[in-house]
């Protein structure tokens, strides 16, 4: 058990590429922190630096009260679970789990006890004599976890451990990992590119983009108050709708286009009139409106039924949406009784859930 402190960490590769641009992060003891971001954002690099598999170009990494920058991975008191499990194919499950302990010269009976205990926790009791290739994906994943927990390390590091599993198993293992971490209370750093995984598992999450930590916070904080267009678009599924807009002279409304006006959220009233902004609104915060004046005319193009609710994709007249949906706005509609495709409906956005970002920098206003 230990806290993890990352201060001013940078990574510059020998070819001059700067993968991490200075990250500060304090992970209190027992916290489950998730690093999330698109591929190439530096999240894995950061994790590998914590593990000691990559050198730290500048800054310090502290586990417990030790600065570990110069320590070998084995001496950092961490355990890592890899994306492809990285089990030793020629060793049995028991040997795989005990290898780290054997290398550290633990007595045989202590190893036996720890492995049996871990196997019990992970329901691997009957499988200890098997080889990794005789196991299913989920079982291999558990063995990889077992290899980590027998060590009883200060911190667990997970490098996209679920991305090789099928969708159903992934959900199941997600719950198992989270439960296990609660039970053991070990500080954990978890890397994923899947924002749902990040949202559901994290105590706090770090959204990374191009080597920078864009925002650090609890999943709900990030969902409700994204600090930038990037975070807003990355967290939440389906992702947030973004539209360019200007603040009206009255300072209380946004003009999206000639016909569409939106009332500004209370907190946004400080925005000076005429300023170009990007307005973000989540699909679930767009609702039907009777008021023809302050509403978007939304023409339904495509309907996706998810069961409990339905996603409507469409275009609003003379509003050019940016971001993911390919120029289309997305609306989450509860239930499955929707107007047919091709129909035009009027939508309003809840002013309390409008997010305003600077049009140039993308930062939250």
């Amino acid at each position: 058990m230990a806290e993890l402190r990352i201060s001013g960490v940078e990574k510059v590769y020998p070819n001059g590429f700067k993968a991490i641009h200075g990250i500060d992060l304090d992970v209190p003891d027992g916290e489950f922190i998730v690093l999330v971001g698109p591929s190439g954002c530096g999240k894995s690099t950061l994790l590998r630096m914590i593990a000691g598999l990559e050198t730290v170009s500048s800054g310090t990494i502290q586990i417990g009260d030790r600065v570990v920058n110069e320590l070998e991975p084995a001496d950092r008191d961490i355990a890592m679970v890899f994306q492809n499990y990285a089990l030793y194919p020629h060793m049995s499950v028991y040997q795989n789990m005990s290898y780290g302990l054997r290398n550290r010269g633990y007595p045989k009976d202590a190893i036996e006890e720890r492995v049996q205990k871990a196997a019990g926790i992970l329901q691997l009791d009957g499988l200890l004599d098997r080889r990794p290739r005789q196991l299913s994906g989920g079982q291999r994943q558990r063995v990889a976890m077992g290899r980590a927990i027998v060590r009883e390390p200060s911190a667990f590091l997970f490098d996209e451990p679920l991305s090789n599993l099928d969708a159903k198993l992934r959900v199941q293992m997600r719950v198992e990992i989270k439960q296990l971490q609660r039970r053991l209370g070990t500080t954990s750093v978890y890397v994923t590119h899947d924002q749902i995984e990040a949202m559901t598992m994290a105590d706090r999450l770090v959204v990374m983009n191009a080597g920078v930590a864009e925002q650090v916070g609890t999943p709900i904080e990030l969902y409700e108050r994204p600090s930038s267009v990037f975070v807003g678009g990355f967290i939440g599924s389906p992702s947030m709708n973004f539209m360019p807009a200007t603040v009206e002279p009255d300072g209380r409304h946004l003009r999206l286009s000639d016909e569409a006006r939106l009332a500004l959220p209370v907190e946004g009233r400080r925005v000076e009139p005429g300023r170009p902004v990007t307005v973000g609104v989540r699909p679930e915060h767009l609702t039907l409106s009777a008021d023809a004046d302050s509403a978007l005319a939304f023409k339904i193009v495509l309907i996706e039924h998810l069961g409990a609710d339905t996603l409507l994709y469409g275009s609003a007249s003379s509003v050019e949406a940016t971001g993911e949906g390919g120029g289309l706005l997305t609306v989450r509609w509860s239930g499955h009784h929707t107007p047919p495709a091709g129909e035009v409906i009027r939508l309003a956005a809840d002013p309390a859930h409008l997010h305003l970002f600077d049009a140039a920098t993308g930062r939250r206003i």
Binding site: A51, L53, P73, A74, A79, M80, F82, Y88, G100, N103
Partner: protein, 311 residues
């Protein structure tokens, strides 16, 4: 592919049978000839079925050999061949495993240069470099004396701190001389390197986190994973070593270092008399046995090592 054409089956079997006959016939003749007396073989027609002198022939070859050809029993030659083949196979595997390990897993200056230099030696088999190699084996200090000559020193003696050292150390007529020059192997190094490249990096990293140092990683992870490759290579290299002909012929003059392949050549190359074919064939059959046994014994691993991709 499912094919059901009777004539195709007939033709393909015919081709196979002819092929097998071509391969097997000489072996058969050798086997049959090794059970006859010399006189039987010289009179037409050549016998195609076993004679009654098999036991005598084999006993003679294994215990006393042919009197007029150095008189060495075949057991000694087989032993020499075995020592040579085993040393070459094991030596090559050990050297190339460690070389490939160094090239793949360590970052040191001129790493790729080293690799390419090793790789280039593929173009220099024993037959090509046989003269310089012979010179070096005849006197290990040859390169040094040549170098000294360049700088104007003559003679094969150097004096360091009052001690006179004669630069003369020959490895002719020794097992070391027989095997050492053949041990370095670019092919095997390359093979292991290619195999090591397919071992996932995560495995190395997991081992590092598990506290295994480089040598421990090599012993505990890499070696067991290379098991089938080692076996396949062992079979190939054993046969390569066993079949060496030119090199042992060149550097051994002492009859006690004669290998079986050379031995057979000497038995055939007799002056004045007809070769004793029945004994030559006996020797040939005996010489064939060890490689055959190695192949049969390691067949399963051998095939696995050549085809296996899963790790």
């Amino acid at each position: 592919m499912v094919e059901n054409r009777p004539w195709l089956t007939v033709v393909s079997h015919l081709v196979l049978i002819v092929g097998i006959a071509i391969v097997v016939l000489p072996l058969w003749v050798a086997l049959v000839a090794s059970t006859h007396t010399g006189r039987d073989l010289l009179s037409a027609p050549i016998p195609m079925w076993f004679g009654s002198h098999g036991v005598d022939n084999y006993r003679q070859m294994l215990t006393s050999g042919m009197e007029h050809v150095s008189g060495q029993p075949l057991t000694l030659m087989l032993f020499n061949s075995l020592v040579m083949a085993l040393s070459i196979a094991i030596g090559k595997i050990v050297i190339s495993l460690t070389a490939a390990f160094a090239i793949c897993y360590f970052r040191f200056p001129l790493r790729m240069t080293c690799f390419w230099i090793i790789f280039i030696t593929l173009m220099l088999p024993v037959e090509v470099r046989i003269l310089p190699t012979y010179e070096v084996i005849a006197n290990v200090f040859t390169p040094l004396t040549r170098l000294l000559e360049l700088f104007g020193f003559e003679g094969d003696e150097i004096v360091i701190a009052g001690l006179s050292i004669r630069l003369d150390f020959s490895m002719l007529d020794s097992y070391t001389g027989l095997t050492l020059p053949l041990i370095a192997s670019a092919t095997a190094t390359f093979l292991f390197r290619q195999f090591f490249l397919t071992v996932p990096d995560e495995l190395t990293e997991a081992a590092r986190i598990d506290g295994a140092g480089p040598m421990k990683f090599f012993r505990d992870i890499l070696l067991p994973l290379s098991r089938t490759n080692i076996a396949a290579l062992f079979v190939i290299l054993f046969i390569y070593g066993w079949n060496q002909y030119l090199w042992p012929l060149l550097i051994t003059t002492d009859p006690s270092y004669v290998t079986v392949v050379m031995g057979i050549q000497r038995m055939v190359n007799v002056a004045d008399t007809e070769p004793q074919w029945h004994l030559v064939m006996t020797a040939a059959v005996l010489a064939m046995l060890p490689p055959v046994l190695v192949v049969i014994g390691m067949q399963r691993l051998f095939v696995k090592g050549l085809v296996e991709t899963e790790k």
